[in-house]
């Protein structure tokens, strides 16, 4: 296959003052009180370095979160603070020039998965991920997002899902899953509802499930059926992912989230229910309403919250003896450390699997798998991504697990690659897949 010059390299080589000004204008717009406070707080102690999976696996000072943070803060100080203008050399304030922009692109897109572990490690609590996302947004304003990531964003914007799955294919897949559901449950009335009005839940999933992991959808459908849930898919908007969270482009990110919100309202669903997707949860639960400056009239919840609630209330009955393999759990950063969904998946897995073991460290201190932040899309940084994932691979190996559960399809893709790269010999599943295998049949 013929390949032309790298469009990003061309764009960087042709960078003109107008593009640099665009970046600065957007950075100024994105830097509010919070980011400015961070600029006055970081003392460059470097203690965040050992929180970062990139740094820990490379020992490259450029991978230290404080270095990435200060690439941005030094520019902010130079252009937008009196001290930085008066004493630039002394305070380390630097102008944004073409070389700095190239380093921003390489470091902010290529050396960070936005996992937020450095924030927990920072002695002051600086949200480094937030500053990096603001700077990514500034780069996006000048069309400097790595094209592989940008094309994922634009595919979703243009087609309604990030895999460009035509509506007919989606509906065919749903119909096939419905037949499977009926066959496996022996219930000819079992449905994969599409565009059902007035349901309790509008369920949104990662389109990779439609394309590559339909059994994941089947598992969720079995669990909903067992819970007696009233739910539906939308024929138009079912993509929970939002790569605008990663590109930093709030405009496109808001547009993608708005589609899910609009479908929820159009179908009169009571809740927007988010499937097992870490960044999709972060985007649609926590960020979308701010992007859109619009308060949703319905709650946005994770499928894990709803299933755990059903388990607590006795609506969902599980038999752990049905799943006897050793199971461990990966904590997706956007869902757990940044999202607050920490115990629900544990409650479900303890009820669904007889041999559940935690990785160490876990929960808020879990290591990122390395697949977030758009890294899976940005193939140019694949070597770094796989190297950074070594910590997660080591963690998995130490548990002796046969099954790794990850409530996030992005993480699952990365974990499957780590499985091959580091020869872990595990299977990787969603929470719903394990729960579905342990369901107690109605009447049993």
């Amino acid at each position: 296959m013929a390949s032309g010059p790298d469009p990003l390299a061309v764009r960087l080589a042709e960078l003109d003052p107008a593009a640099i000004q665009k970046i600065l204008d957007e950075l100024r717009r994105r830097f509010g009180a919070t980011e400015e406070a961070f600029a006055s707080t970081c003392v460059r102690c470097g203690l965040c370095a050992e929180a970062c999976h990139y740094y820990l696996t490379s020992q490259d000072p450029k991978d230290a979160p404080a270095h990435k943070l200060n690439l941005v803060l030094s520019v902010f100080k130079h252009h937008f603070t009196p001290g930085g203008r008066m004493l630039p050399g002394w305070l380390g304030a630097k102008p944004l020039d073409a070389a700095a922009v190239a380093e921003w692109v390489d470091s902010l897109f290529g050396r960070c998965s936005g996992c937020g572990r450095c924030t927990i490690g920072c002695t002051s609590g600086i949200d480094i991920r937030r500053v990096i996302r603001a700077a990514r947004g500034a780069l996006a304003a000048a069309d400097l997002v790595p094209p592989e990531l940008q094309s994922t964003v634009m595919t979703a914007v243009r087609t309604g899902n990030n895999m460009a799955i035509p509506k007919a294919e989606w509906l065919d897949t749903a119909a096939w899953i419905e037949e499977e559901l009926q066959g496996e449950t022996g219930d000819p009335g079992a449905r994969i509802p599409i565009d059902r009005e007035g349901a309790d839940y509008l369920y949104a999933i990662n389109p990779r499930e439609v394309k590559f992991f339909p059994l994941s959808i089947l598992a969720a459908a079995k669990v909903f059926r067992a819970m007696g849930a009233s739910w539906t898919f939308s024929s138009e908007s079912y993509d929970v992912t939002n790569y605008g969270l990663y590109s930093g482009d709030d405009g496109h990110a808001g547009l993608m989230s708005a589609r899910l919100a609009d479908s929820t309202e159009r179908l009169g669903a009571k809740t927007l229910l988010l499937g097992e997707c870490g960044h999709g949860f972060g985007a649609n639960r926590w960020e979308a309403q701010e992007w859109l400056d619009r308060r949703y009239p319905f709650p946005v919840r994770s499928v894990l919250e709803v299933a755990a609630e059903a388990l607590r209330e006795g609506k969902l009955r599980l038999d752990a003896s049905r799943y006897t393999k050793v199971v461990t759990l990966h904590d997706p950063c956007n869902l757990v450390r940044l999202g607050g969904i920490v115990e629900e998946q544990r409650l479900l897995l303890r009820a669904a699997a007889a041999n559940f073991v935690e990785m160490t460290p876990n929960r808020l201190k879990a290591y990122c798998c390395g697949g977030g932040g758009g890294q899976l899309a940005m193939t140019r940084y694949a070597d770094r991504r796989l190297r950074a994932g070594r910590l997660k691979a080591d963690q998995i190996r130490a548990t002796g697990a046969q099954t790794v559960v990850a409530p996030c399809h992005n993480c699952i893709d990365q974990l499957m690659e780590l499985n091959r790269e580091y020869k872990l010999g595990v299977e990787v599943k969603t929470v719903m897949e394990v729960v579905a295998e342990s369901l107690v049949p109605p009447g049993a």
């Binding site: 919070t34 607050g340 929960r363």
Partner: protein
């Protein structure tokens, strides 16, 4: 000296106020938790040495930082007391211990910054300069406790330090609290802080 202390405090308060008045995007998604319990956690359990991984992995740096800041705090109190209440003579031993430990810790942290490549790449002149200015202040406070005739030198240097505080990294003495509140508030609102159960 009191004038410079007041000017420094006012400048720092102004900087925080000005930063805060920049404004932030309003958060309108429904909260999953409460801000203040998150802030309390951020200033409490989350700062404990055995809780914070970065501290656990770097106990000497943590100890150095703690002694350094304690030394500065004690020395500033003593200097302010000597100016505000000239007739009062608090015992010199706590000052001597805190200042001596502080200056040693400060120099150790400076050495670490010079020696470690991942810190060198990060560092700017202010990082070295501010450290040396504070070390000199601690050294002067220590020396003055033995040789009171050094008091004018100490007061002049303290004034310089106060005037410098809002300019460079020393401003973190105010902004640390601001950022820590933002941190606890953010994670509290998202239901992450305080954590629901024990871990690692």
């Amino acid at each position: 000296m009191l004038g410079t202390a007041l000017a420094s405090a006012c400048s720092l308060v102004y900087l925080v106020w000005r930063t805060r008045s920049t404004g932030s995007r309003p958060l309108i998604s429904a909260p999953a938790g409460r801000r203040w319990p998150g802030v309390v956690h951020a200033f409490g359990r989350d700062m404990l040495p055995w809780e914070k991984e970065s501290i656990r992995l770097n106990p000497l740096t943590f100890l150095g930082g703690a002694l350094y800041h304690l030394g500065v705090f004690v020395a500033v109190i003593y200097v302010l007391l000597s100016v505000l209440l000239p007739g009062v003579h608090p015992p010199a031993v706590p000052l001597r211990l805190a200042a001596a430990a502080g200056v040693l810790a400060g120099l150790a942290l400076l050495l670490k910054r010079v020696v470690k490549p991942e810190l060198r790449i990060l560092s700017v002149p202010d990082d070295y300069g501010a450290n040396l200015m504070v070390d000199a202040f601690l050294l002067l406070a220590l020396a003055e406790s033995f040789f009171p005739r050094l008091e004018p030198v100490l007061l002049v240097w303290t004034s310089v330090l106060f005037l410098y505080a809002p300019v460079g990294k020393i401003r973190h003495c105010f902004f640390f609290f601001y950022t820590r509140i933002l941190y606890g508030s953010f994670l509290g609102r998202r239901g992450v802080f305080p954590p629901t159960s024990a871990r690692v």
